[in-house]
Amino acid sequence: MSASKATAANRFGLGARPGELDRAGDGRQILLAQLREPPSQAEFRDLPGSAATLQREYEQQRANRANRNADAPPKSRKPGMAASSESMPESTMTAPGTDAASARRRRTAADRVASTPNDPADREPATPAEALRRELRRQQLAEFAARYRHAASTDAPFVERLTQFWSNHFAVSIDKGNARLYAGSMEREAIRPHVLGRFEDLLLAVESHPAMLRYLDNAVSIGDDSRAAQRAQRMGGGNGDKPRRGLNENLAREILELHTLGVDGGYRQDDVIELARAITGWSTPGPRDAQTLDASFVFRANAHEPGARRVLGRSYAEGGVEQGRAVLADLARHPATARHLSFKLARHFVADEPPPALVERMAQAYLRDDGDLRALYRSLIESDEAWSPAARKFKTPNDFVISALRAGELPVGNEARALIGLLASLGQPVFTPRSPAGFPDTAADWSNPDGLYKRIQAAQLFAARIDAQASTPYQRALSVLGSDAVNGDFAIGLRRAGSASEGYSLLFASPAFQWRC
């Protein structure tokens, strides 16, 4: 099975940039070369880490409290949002139309502008708290912009697609306020360093990152027989003004169901509870610790459930933070995990319903090499199924946008508000899958009439921004889709376009551009 460069660039990568199809070697060689060394991460150099962001966040909360104590009018809160170290100031994020309600309500553009957050430049910040809130918001916009700048320009697009795949596998949805500021840094700190490494390390890095610990509530989970619970009992907790805290199974359940074994992976409710107990105490530094620790993970021995645990029939002796790590290490090596990860990867790269034989071969390679992700990727690339001409994947909105940025050589600014708004209106707001299961990955999920129409609109927007001096739409189509994909009416339409923007609109809105072929 010959491995075409167009497939390497458009199905395994993020969509070709002009010149990308001229690389030496066949598709397989191009992909294997990208796996050899981690690509440059220059785009992310100046972004603050999660530890610094935690400090900044707590600083903002302190300033907020000082504000309120000074009898300033309190910030409006969503009902049910408690003021605690776990809550985020509202409207740290949001580009036009990213909040769910506004995305659902059909409104005129005039209404939308009325609800657009004022630009930081509009007014002097009224208070230190406000200034900090804006700074956090700017930081987040810079984070998103860097992500898309990198995707639009990287020379290792296969690695970047893998990065985004894992980011969605370990989904954190920033519509949950307390995780909002950390989804981006989780991708940078937990996923990027391990995307070409071992799954066990990737898993451990993700499950101990503040984004995940907060998103799935483990940061506040305490063992029922832990010292913290006993102290609370003595203090008469549970009937006072604080709700009694206890074990939270949320993260443990998703680790088993989504991150490792898969829903049919053979675990039971007892395993969920035992894993939840094993990882009690895995938390993020609170307002007091953050200043001294300069870390984004803390193990709270006081909150940890004492004693041995039994998960999937194996015993784990008491060992503080090591107990949970040992369970995760075994989960990473489990055959069900190998099959679950292989199926998801094959679905992502080959077909909505991937060939079972391919999935099985990938799982074997994974297990043979002790969870080495590169072995897993190689078994995929080296298979014939991966290069079958029939294999194609419908682009998600995120894929569509990134491939258009690359094909059009479109610049991504420092704040990328328009891009963030566009992704939201196309139905895939950045880091907002609204569930720990992440964004779905089949054509049926994304190929709906409204979504397609919006892509055609977006195609016109992109086309309007292209530097038309660089090449004609027909030449550009050839250079990014390859000559096999540009024929018949499509080629004629591209050649006869009345203006560059008409031709580029046709390119981006064409069916050929909606598929990763």
Partner: protein, 378 residues
């Protein structure tokens, strides 16, 4: 630039007319006034918007392309019949067309001419930021706001300027849908989705439909009308480059501009008496119609000034005439006024910038360009 004054227009005399708003003895300046610049990209054909119907040369130059039923607003000029709202504003003395005005650029490139208009200098490379941006910087407070996908050159140069654009503002070009139809018909997986997508789109559009100039002007006006809203605004529109068959095209575009003026007036609401809207374009077009019913790049363009702070109901500028000897290179209307003169006057008299700031920072090296007085309601 030594055009003979025709005395056609009393616009820039010192005679103070009654203002439109009895009881408002002075328009406020310097703290809560508003300026909205509307840039029509592509070169608006001023002779089509404001036909000099009384001049026989006009009919001779335009032939079948002449506007045959203009709204006669004075003894020489009429407004295109699509400009009903503008005519109403003119009669209410809120609108003043200014003839034969252009940026100080005499070549025929759209892009260079627009750069020159936006950067506020005598050349397309004269500055890397824009005169509106420098104006915002020179103001003691307040902000600039553009309805645009990318920050326009005109507003660059100030941190207090922002731009906003709806994520998916544009209606789909019907031609594009036609071209896509056979391509999607050949994709069994997407053909039905495509058919239903265009159907669904027509179902969900409200009466306003496209995010075109009227909507953009309404949004800018609404945003600027807030008590602490941006004082400087910018809106742009493209598609004014009418080389072929311009009558139906301009019929549609001028109607949009007309709706935009009405939408802006509505959007400004209570701020309207303190508002000036300047509608400008990078250059005019050839005086004669070309072989394909259109006009080509020219020189002397036109501007519209409107708003409650404008003493309208008159035509401003110096009309150079349409006789062959009066035309620039024998082809197009001469430019007798530099747009910077108009802008300077608006910034000092209406926005309240000090003359020294305007001369040194906003329009450097423009001392020779006299401010264009007499447009303002007092």
């Amino acid at each position: 630039m030594d055009a003979q004054r025709r005395g056609l227009l009393a616009a820039f005399g010192a005679s103070a007319l009654l203002t439109l708003f009895p009881g408002a003895t002075r328009a406020a300046t310097g703290h809560d006034t508003r300026l909205l610049l509307v840039l029509l990209r592509g070169g608006l054909d001023g002779l089509h918007l404001l036909p000099p119907y009384a001049d026989p040369a006009y009919a001779r130059l335009r032939g079948e392309g002449a506007v045959d039923d203009p709204i006669r607003i004075d003894a020489s000029f009429g407004l295109h019949p699509a400009m009903q709202q503008a005519a109403t504003m003119y009669r209410a003395r809120e609108l003043m067309p200014i003839v034969a005005i252009a940026p100080p650029y005499r070549e025929r490139s759209h892009f260079d001419a627009q750069d020159c208009l936006e950067n506020g200098t005598a050349s397309p490379t004269g500055a890397r930021d824009g005169w509106l941006g420098r104006c915002v910087q020179a103001m003691p407070g307040g902000a600039g706001f553009a309805v645009a996908a990318v920050m326009p050159l005109a507003l660059r140069g100030s941190e207090r300027a922002s731009n906003w654009w709806p994520p998916l503002p544009k209606d789909v070009d019907p031609q594009l849908l036609q071209r896509l139809q056979p391509l999607y018909a050949a994709d069994p997986r997407l053909s039905e989705t495509f058919e239903r997508s265009t159907h669904a789109a027509t179902m969900t559009r409200d009466g306003k439909g496209a995010f075109a100039l009227p909507e953009a002007m309404r949004i800018a006006a609404q945003r600027m009308s807030a008590v602490d809203g941006p004082r400087i605004g910018f809106v742009e529109d493209s598609g004014w480059d009418t080389h072929r068959n311009q009558a139906p095209l301009l019929q549609r575009k001028l109607a949009e501009l007309d709706q935009g003026l009405a939408a802006a007036r509505e959007g400004f609401g209570a701020a309207w008496p303190r508002t000036v809207i300047a509608v400008v374009t990078e250059f005019g077009r050839t005086a004669a119609i070309n072989g394909t019913g259109g006009t080509d790049h020219g020189t002397g363009g036109m501007a519209l000034l409107c708003g409650g702070a404008v003493r309208g109901g008159r035509i401003g500028g110096d009309w150079p005439g349409l006789a062959p000897a009066q035309l620039n290179q024998g082809r197009d209307l001469r430019a007798t006024r530099d747009l910077r003169g108009l802008f300077k006057s608006v910034l000092t008299e209406h926005i309240g910038l000090a003359e020294s700031a305007v001369e040194s920072r906003v329009f450097p090296a423009s001392r020779a360009v006299a401010p264009m007085a007499g447009w303002r309601a007092t």
